[in-house]
């Protein structure tokens, strides 16, 4: 199983072997330390930098969510612990503070957690390893893609402390609320910093996406044809394409909004606005223009936020079911289908916006059809489990829960796609349930599966399985307690983004249910303490993993754990597809992608050594 180590690739410079986490710099010196760990151009270090940064922001986003949940469950009651931080009226939150909380919860989770953890952390770490390259095509660009996140971190982070607080116009930032400074407290500096932060996240994503596309197209190992790529790489590739084509629109729209705010242009504001008794702006613009531009990016971005998780889950399911992926090519085509259709469905966010209702019909048809590739993927995942030999590792449990939860998130989307039904449930908790099932119960569970799965490759040690399973079980229970109930709340029409809805006759009886959900949310966040301890403890004290702890067959498992600078100690040559598990006639239950075609001969050759 251990690959021959005698033929060292010339790419490996043994004087500068860098081992993340517990290596030490052989030559010492500050500049060496900085170039190895801080301004590193090694894709693995950059991937881990993204991972640590995004996990920290995940914690912040989670705490923001708890504060949101507190207000929804017990409006105007003093917030425990965190309440002292706001120091407003004895820990009680003001309504403008609440609007800021949910705006920043979504902003942090989407732009600083989900997008960078998928593409930034896992994309960076896995792409060269899984295609058999020694690094990315543009290492400097890669380093910059991480460091362009820092101005974003600072802009979003600092916005909490400016006058009026952070942005409070919703993560969708709809004008005129977001462009008109008089319209809300968070619409001062907070909103301007928000737009700057968004731009920097965009620059980072763009640098990453150019790099990923180039690397995947040009730097595959000999024999690694496109249709021998693991699903993770296909997903990262198509995600990069989506980023590259959709992002410029958002960046441009962001600058237009910035101009509306700073230079008093009127892209998004009509004439004659009277906000807070002040007339404003030259007008001549259209609020719906922003919505079109924003969703032209942000709907494809929804797929940017799920496709890589789908890819990683496909790889994990096959490994722990010890079976080839069911329908590899249909899986690739359906990712491509989702990406293609993803560009023509943005209008479904705007059914109630005042957009021409005839256009709503065309967007309904395209939106319904985008459910098709998702359905095909689900059926193929089920097909992958069928006839397998399932190993209940923590990673596998998270991966299977991704499938289970994605079914819910996928099906609930059909309600909103149906325009007449959307009239009632639009902007209610039904949609909140839907996107949390896709993004938390889907993507976040997929990310956990991936962390448990590739942790040994990252740090050379495996995470604790027992506590991993406790983490999985509690997260799974609490997430469903929190988010499933949101569906029926939405069926009452309970609107999102209200600081207090109980003064409405229609909604006054829903407080106990919201309190239940908040308790589950508290449990869900508390459970992550187990994960954090397991993660840090295992980095230093976990059992040493070896090259291939899961008996998986991708190229990354032929490299040392953790791989040194240059990744492979020999040039991998690829002879077969990525999912050769349980091949009849083979003498072991999996064949590595590097195993030559005649497995029996290869085994004999290995025995002769």
């Amino acid at each position: 199983m251990t690959p021959p180590t005698t033929t060292a690739s010339p790419a490996v410079d043994h004087g500068h072997v860098t081992v993340p986490a517990h290596g030490h710099a052989p030559h010492g010196g500050l500049s060496h330390f900085l170039s190895t760990y801080v301004f590193s151009k090694d894709h693995k270090v950059i991937g881990l930098q993204f991972l640590f940064s995004t996990l920290l922001w995940f914690l912040i986003g989670g705490l923001l969510a708890l504060a949101v949940r507190w207000q929804v469950a017990w409006p105007w009651s003093p917030v425990p612990v965190l309440g002292k931080l706001f120091a407003q009226e004895g820990g009680q939150m003001a309504p403008e503070f609440y609007t800021m909380l949910f705006t920043m919860h979504a902003t942090v989770m989407i732009f600083l957690v989900i997008i960078p953890i998928l593409a930034g952390a896992f994309g960076n770490f896995l792409i060269p390893l899984m295609i058999g390259a020694d690094d990315m095509a543009f290492p400097t660009l890669n380093m910059l893609s991480y460091w362009f996140m820092w101005p974003a971190f600072i802009a979003f982070g600092a916005s909490f402390f400016v006058e009026g607080g952070a942005a409070a116009g919703g993560w969708t930032s709809y004008p005129p609320l977001s462009t008109n400074v008089a319209s809300s407290p968070g619409s001062g500096w907070g909103q301007t910093l928000w737009l700057l932060g968004l731009t920097f996240v965009g620059v980072s994503s763009m640098l990453g996406s150019v790099n990923y596309m180039t690397t995947i197209i040009l730097m595959r190992a000999p024999g690694m044809t496109m249709f021998r790529l693991p699903m993770t790489i296909w997903a990262m590739f198509i995600t990069a394409v989506l980023q590259a084509f959709a992002l410029p629109v958002l960046t441009a729209a962001g600058f237009m909004q910035l101009a509306d705010r700073v230079f008093n242009t009127g892209f998004f504001s009509p004439e004659g606005l009277v906000v807070n008794n002040l007339t404003s702006g030259p007008g001549g613009g259209q609020p719906l223009l922003w919505q079109h531009l924003f969703w032209f990016y942000s709907h494809p971005a929804v797929y940017i936020m799920i496709l890589p998780a789908m890819g990683m889950v496909s790889d994990i399911l096959t490994c722990f079911a010890r079976k080839p992926l069911f329908g590899y090519r249909p899986m690739v085509y359906s990712i491509a289908g989702i990406a293609g259709l993803g560009f023509i469905v943005w209008g479904h966010h705007m059914f109630m916006s005042g957009m021409n209702p005839a256009l709503g019909i065309t967007f309904m048809v395209s939106t319904m059809m985008i459910a098709l590739p998702s359905a095909v993927k689900t059926f193929n995942w089920l097909g992958t489990l069928w006839g397998g030999r399932i190993q209940f590792t923590t990673s596998m449990l998270f991966a299977m829960s991704f499938v289970s939860m994605f079914i819910i998130g996928g099906l609930s989307g059909i309600f909103m796609a149906a325009t007449p039904v959307d009239i009632f449930i639009h902007d209610t908790y039904f949609i909140v349930a839907h996107f949390h099932y896709v993004l938390f119960a889907g993507t976040a569970m997929g990310v956990w599966a991936a962390i448990y799965f590739w942790f040994p490759k990252m740090f050379g040690r495996t995470m604790n399985e027992f506590w991993g399973k406790v983490h999985f079980f509690l997260t799974f229970i609490f997430l469903n307690g929190t988010f499933f109930t949101m569906h029926i709340l939405g069926a009452v029409g309970f609107p999102r983004r209200l600081a207090d809805a109980y003064h409405y006759e229609t909604f006054h009886h829903l407080q106990p249910m919201n309190a239940f959900m908040t308790w589950c949310a508290i449990g869900m966040v508390a459970t992550q303490i187990i994960f954090a301890i397991n993660f840090v403890w295992s980095m230093f004290r976990g059992p040493v993993a070896g090259r291939n702890p899961w008996n998986a067959n991708g190229l990354e498992w032929t490299a040392p754990s953790p791989p040194g600078h240059g990744n492979f100690d020999y040039q991998p040559i690829v002879y077969r597809g990525p999912y050769e598990y349980s091949v009849p006639g083979a003498d072991k239950d999996h064949l590595m992608q590097t195993d030559p075609p005649n497995a029996a001969a290869a085994a004999a050759a290995a025995a002769a050594h």
Partner: protein
């Protein structure tokens, strides 16, 4: 044996998803966490489409989740003899599970179109019953005065207290003075964003008398949560009497010329 029990346990955890999922939806109506009462003409169409999708997705949900449970239960490595089945896929299955959902989804889209057109596209040919102007954080109302025409000196101005006649079409002209709002009438299944710079028509027919909430459903600032109005549906006779009373009140409190000056966007 212990390992087999672990596998069974995890399979049952996954089985809990469809069981508790269906149970939640089954119990919801009886604890009053469900669609609020509908008093409109078109609402039953929307509700029945909701139920239709609920049944359809419910069947798919149960089938796929139970299948997932069953595979997890059955294909536990501990329980299996011999290696996993080596199969790369099935062209026939792929075709089947592409065409059936595609046809279903396309049908679903086409099946919705008529209801959508009724609510948003087939506007009744009539003059507006009332103009609703959204503003941070209230609903300003403007009824055509005795002359039946909006924008004349005798218009009636009110705030947050909308009255509408039942058993006839009403046409609302929806505008916004400042930011986006959304005019949400849960009990007649109506929702429409109010957009500054646009006049958006909203129409429906109420069938029953009663007073209900008007909710703002699009984030409009710090006071979004309190942008509450009331709508009262009443018979034509009561509605006319109410209008008459309000005209009289307005005329008693201010001269007509001042009434017309009340700040409203045109």
């Amino acid at each position: 044996m212990g390992k087999r029990l672990a596998g069974m346990f995890w399979a049952l955890v996954f089985l809990a998803v469809p069981v508790l999922g269906v149970a939640t939806f089954a119990v919801a109506p009886s604890i009053n966490v469900w669609l609020p009462k509908d008093v409109s003409e078109h609402g039953r169409q929307i509700d029945s489409l909701f139920y239709f999708i609920l049944v359809l997705t419910g069947v798919v949900f149960v089938a796929t989740e139970v299948l997932l449970f069953w595979f997890i239960w059955k294909y536990d490595a501990v329980k299996q003899q011999g290696p996993a089945t080596y199969i790369q896929g099935s062209h026939t299955l792929e075709v089947v599970w592409t065409i059936i959902p595609a046809a279903t989804l396309l049908f679903l889209a086409i099946y919705q179109m008529n209801a959508w057109a009724d609510v948003k596209m087939r506007r009744p040919a009539m003059a507006p019953t009332v103009e609703v102007v959204a503003r941070q954080f209230e609903w300003r109302l403007r009824y055509p005065g005795r002359d039946g025409t909006l924008g004349t000196a005798d218009d009636l101005f009110l705030v947050n207290d909308l009255h509408l006649p039942i058993d006839e079409d009403v046409l609302i002209q929806l505008k916004s003075m400042d930011v986006l709002h959304s005019f949400f009438l849960p009990h007649v299944r109506i929702k429409q964003d109010a957009v500054p710079g646009m006049k958006i028509p909203v129409w429906f027919k109420a069938r029953e008398e009663g007073a209900f909430d008007i909710v703002c459903a699009e984030l409009c600032g710090w006071g979004h949560y309190k942008m509450k109005g009331r709508v009262t549906y009443e018979s034509r006779a009561k509605f006319d009497a109410w209008l008459e009373r309000k005209y009289a009140e307005q005329e008693a409190t201010q001269p007509q010329s001042e009434a017309a000056d009340v700040a409203l966007v045109r």
